[in-house]
């Protein structure tokens, strides 16, 4: 029985292929549109997933707890006195003040992120710059960059070195300076910090510790590393979802297109199905035949679209997304995404593209298959 079943399916497949081939123009058009839809969706999903994964890996050792002071709902400098209060909370291992901020550089029309590394800070008057900064200012070690401080005076920095290009994804716009220079440039008084980072002795107690800090310092807000990671997860999930919802318009349009193509049977096709039924094909044979035709198209489109999307995102640097991602950013990190693909993504993509197509073609297929067998005699 199985051998007969197999050779029957193969005969049907043979016929389905030659039937597709006989309407080459129509089917190639459909295939092209379908592949394009899969390609765009695949690119979006692969890109978001890879970024998400990358963020998760890169930021896994970022500060456990960040404490920021709020004044009237806006972020404000935090007094050093809070440091003691935080260190006094049970479970806190260490707490340090961070100094960082944004600096708009009119020469490059770009925003830099100025930071004071507590670990190996640059000497006063020198700076370590990210690769993006180096690129927009065309700066090399030894060059001098000058900015206007908060009081209008010029502050000069000698470039002591650049951060590795490899780390551009986190460091492209960094401008690392000494604490004295930072305070001088922005006029941040001694005893004040941008925010405070704290580490916790027992990782399981982070949330409890955070609640204690919150209770002790009601004028602050607390950001946990878990939240940051989760934020990256959901930011891209959410945006990816939004994009998919928007693209679902495209999927819908494609579904309608597929329905149209499937139901717009030409007189010739109708005659063919009539002939098949008259000479002894059963309705379910015709349904199977048409389903095979649909499967050939959807599998081809899915596989081709996915592989093209993969190449686009990971081998060609996602050029189609660059405009959106870059936006008006002058400092865009020069990075190549590390490919991370997983089965769930591929399965979801398959579901998203093949399922609507299948649904859209069911009724037209059935309608085509129930052509009267005796109509060829009329």
């Amino acid at each position: 029985m199985t051998a007969g079943w197999i050779s029957r399916q193969r005969h049907l497949l043979d016929f389905a292929l030659s039937s597709l081939g006989r309407r080459r123009g129509k089917n190639l058009g459909l295939l092209a549109v379908y592949t394009l839809v899969v390609f765009v969706l695949a690119s979006v999903m692969l890109f978001s997933h890879a970024i998400r994964h990358e963020a998760r890996l890169v930021l896994k050792d970022s500060p456990e707890v960040v404490v920021q002071k709020l004044v009237a709902g806006r972020h404000d400098l935090i007094p050093a006195g809070h440091l003691e209060a935080i260190r006094g909370v049970r479970g806190v291992r260490a707490a340090e003040g961070r100094l960082w901020g944004y600096l708009f550089d009119p020469a490059a029309a770009a925003n830099y992120t100025l930071m004071v590394p507590r670990d190996q800070p640059p000497a006063p008057g020198t700076a370590l710059i990210g690769s993006g900064v180096a690129a927009v200012r065309d700066a090399a070690p030894g060059d001098t960059l000058s900015f206007r401080a908060h009081d209008g005076q010029l502050v000069q920095f000698t470039v002591a070195g650049t951060l590795e290009r490899d780390s551009a994804l986190v460091s492209a716009d960094l401008f690392l300076v000494s604490e004295a220079d930072f305070r001088r440039l922005f006029g941040v008084p001694e005893g004040r910090f941008t925010d405070i980072v704290a580490s916790v002795r027992n990782p399981r107690e982070i949330r409890t510790v955070a609640e204690k800090i919150d209770a002790a310092l009601p004028d602050t807000r607390i950001i946990l590393r878990d939240e940051i990671l989760r934020t990256y997860d959901s930011v891209f999930d959410w945006r990816e979802g939004m994009l998919l919802v928007l693209l679902s318009g495209a999927i819908l349009a494609f579904g309608i297109f597929a329905w149209e193509k499937a139901s717009g049977l030409s007189a010739e096709e109708r005659r063919e199905i009539g002939i098949l039924k008259a000479v002894g094909w059963e309705t379910s044979d015709v349904i199977r035949l048409k389903t095979l035709e649909g499967m050939v198209i959807s599998l081809t489109a899915f596989l081709a679209g996915y592989v093209l999307g993969y190449l686009h995102v990971f081998h060609f640097g996602a050029p189609l997304f660059e405009p959106v991602l870059k936006g008006w950013a002058v400092l865009y990190p020069d990075f190549r995404l590390t490919p991370f693909v997983d089965e769930l993504q591929v399965a979801t993509l398959f579901f998203f593209t093949v399922f609507p197509y299948t649904v859209a073609t069911v009724v037209p297929i059935w309608r085509a298959a129930t052509v009267d067998p005796d109509q060829v005699m009329r």
């Binding site: 970022s62 690392l176 939240e227 959901s234 596989l303 991602l325 002058v330 990190p333 490919p339 693909v341």
Partner: protein
């Protein structure tokens, strides 16, 4: 003498395409293994400098550091407002800002 059946060509093509799909997984595995040291270096840098965000979206202050962004930064009067900057449509305000403290 009989010509190759179309179903054979199609099945071979399908096998090839599935192999290509499998190849993307292999390629991804190889490349992410090769990228391992780079990732570790990036992670170490982020840990050393106590960075909390990627430098992906640098054109506006609030998109540079999604986790730290000011709720009421310029051009961002409402968390769900349409964005002045194009990447605003890719990065939402941090979840931490949207609900919980």
């Amino acid at each position: 003498m009989s010509p190759v059946r179309p179903s054979f060509i199609a099945l071979a093509g399908l096998a090839g395409a599935v192999a290509a799909l499998g190849a993307t997984f292999v390629d991804a595995g190889l490349r992410s293994a090769a990228a391992g040291p780079g990732l570790a270096a990036r992670g170490a840098l982020a840990a050393r400098l106590e960075l909390t965000d990627l430098a992906l979206f640098t054109e506006a202050r609030y998109t540079r550091n999604p986790s730290q962004a000011d709720l009421h930064a310029a051009f961002q009067d409402h968390p769900f407002a349409f964005e002045h900057f194009p990447t605003g449509s890719l990065v939402a305000p941090a979840a931490a800002k949207r609900g919980r403290p």
